[in-house]
């Protein structure tokens, strides 16, 4: 990609007609995407393997799935990079300032999905929200939704399971963020913030702020490309590795192997999955191919969703960062409330579906 982008003519074209270049890229993307499945069969067909063998099945699965997932993820991440140019954290903050409980929490959870967020700036963001008069519970709704419902998780779910499961994950993630924020807000725990945070909340801002310039479409497209380079460039080895593991399980582990202990009838499967998931820390890219394999072999959807949410939403590095602003007991409440929400989602799904 870098070679073609740096050639001067394409660069000029992208600067002058950014949307035309995006449209052309989308057409090329679609043409490649449609060829993936026949291509994977053609390659496997030429190898000296029995067409019905486990190895041929696993290999075809890998050759089709790995590029498919990477292509879909690239598309979703690009779109999100463009969306990010419309929603800055500053804009989100001013939308949320002074909002009431309920409406504010719902908005915060939704904005958490589309606002650019990096857990490395969780602390200034957290305090900045409180300074501007965003209620504590609303701030938490944002902080829970932002990492849990991210474009990598949604893009992978969409490419591996289809839009229904992706939408379901989106809805459940928003619900957990909304309810957990309302509960934390209702408990009135402002006093459990660290002392320096409460002092700063009242302190005036000491620096001036330059007026942000409006984005041109060329810059929005650049932002999308940069986002793809950053995210896909970082997670692709995870995806290829995860799909390879998934392909192995797909080809070799018997169907319904997991049904006995991760199936719908095992009530303890949900809490067990969450207990394992909370201390586990990996990004969505690492966990979702595993999830796919679990589901294919008979694990229940609710159990698997709960596992995935607990791995992504609660992570030790983020808790360590938040520890700077939250007293330990508030951290405990935060973890407790979010975990409870995830458990309920898991149970509800196993019962309803």
């Amino acid at each position: 990609m870098s070679a073609s982008v740096s050639s001067p003519s394409l660069h000029q074209l992208r600067a002058r007609h950014p949307l035309l270049v995006v449209a052309l890229a989308a057409v090329a993307w679609w043409l490649v995407y449609r060829q993936l499945e026949p291509l994977s069969f053609a390659i496997v067909g030429r190898l000296p393997l029995a067409p019905e063998s486990h190895l041929a099945g696993a290999l075809q699965f890998f050759l089709y799935d790995a590029p498919k997932v990477l292509l879909l993820l690239t598309g979703v991440v690009f779109l999100m990079g463009v969306v990010h140019t419309f929603v800055s954290p500053e804009k989100t903050r001013s939308l949320l300032a002074g909002r009431r409980v309920g409406v504010g929490n719902a908005m915060a959870a939704l904005l958490g999905v589309v606002t650019p967020f990096c857990s490395c700036s969780a602390v200034p963001l957290f305090i900045g929200f409180l300074q501007a008069g965003v209620p504590l519970g609303v701030t938490f709704s944002f902080l829970i939704a932002a990492p849990m419902v991210n474009e990598v998780a949604l893009g992978l779910l969409f490419s591996l399971f289809g839009w229904r499961i992706a939408l379901l994950y989106l809805a459940m993630g928003l619900l957990v963020a909304l309810v957990a924020g309302v509960v934390i807000g209702a408990l009135g725990l402002e006093g459990w913030l660290e002392g320096w945070v409460r002092e700063l909340q009242a302190a005036p801002v000491v620096a001036g702020h330059a007026v942000g310039q409006a984005w041109t479409w060329s810059e929005r497209v650049d932002s999308g490309v940069a986002h793809v380079r950053d995210i896909v460039g970082r997670v692709w080895p995870w995806i290829v590795g995860g799909v390879a593991v998934g392909a192995g399980i797909h080809g070799f582990v018997p169907q319904d192997f997991l049904a006995a202990f991760m199936g719908r009838d095992a009530w303890w499967a949900v809490p067990a999955a969450v207990l394992v998931g909370v201390p586990l820390y990996t990004n969505a890219a690492g966990v979702i191919p595993i999830v796919q394999a679990l589901l294919a072999k008979g694990a229940a959807l609710g159990t698997v969703l709960a596992f995935m949410m607990s791995v992504i939403a609660l992570s030790a590095p983020e808790l360590i960062i938040l520890r700077k602003v939250l007293q330990p007991r508030l951290i405990a409440v935060f973890v407790g409330v979010v975990t409870t929400g995830i458990l309920l989602v898991g149970f509800a799904f196993n019962h309803l579906l």
């Binding site: 929200f129 801002v205 700077k324």
Partner: protein, 77 residues
Amino acid sequence: MKHIKVLGKGCMNCKTTLARIDERARKLGVEVELEKVEDMADIVRMGVLSTPAVVIDGVVVHSGGVPSPAAIDGWLR
């Protein structure tokens, strides 16, 4: 001389931002005084929500992500 602060706590993007501003300033021959601000309370006091952020002569000109070389040139001129 411009006084430039890069705000952010030790993340990779912050270091890249600092190095890039230094590089552009040398290239353009602009004299700058570069400072790295890592203290969270100081960062928060400047009203910055996402890091790395860039402050030039007391004004926040950028926040969230590594600024492009073109943007940096714009601030330095």
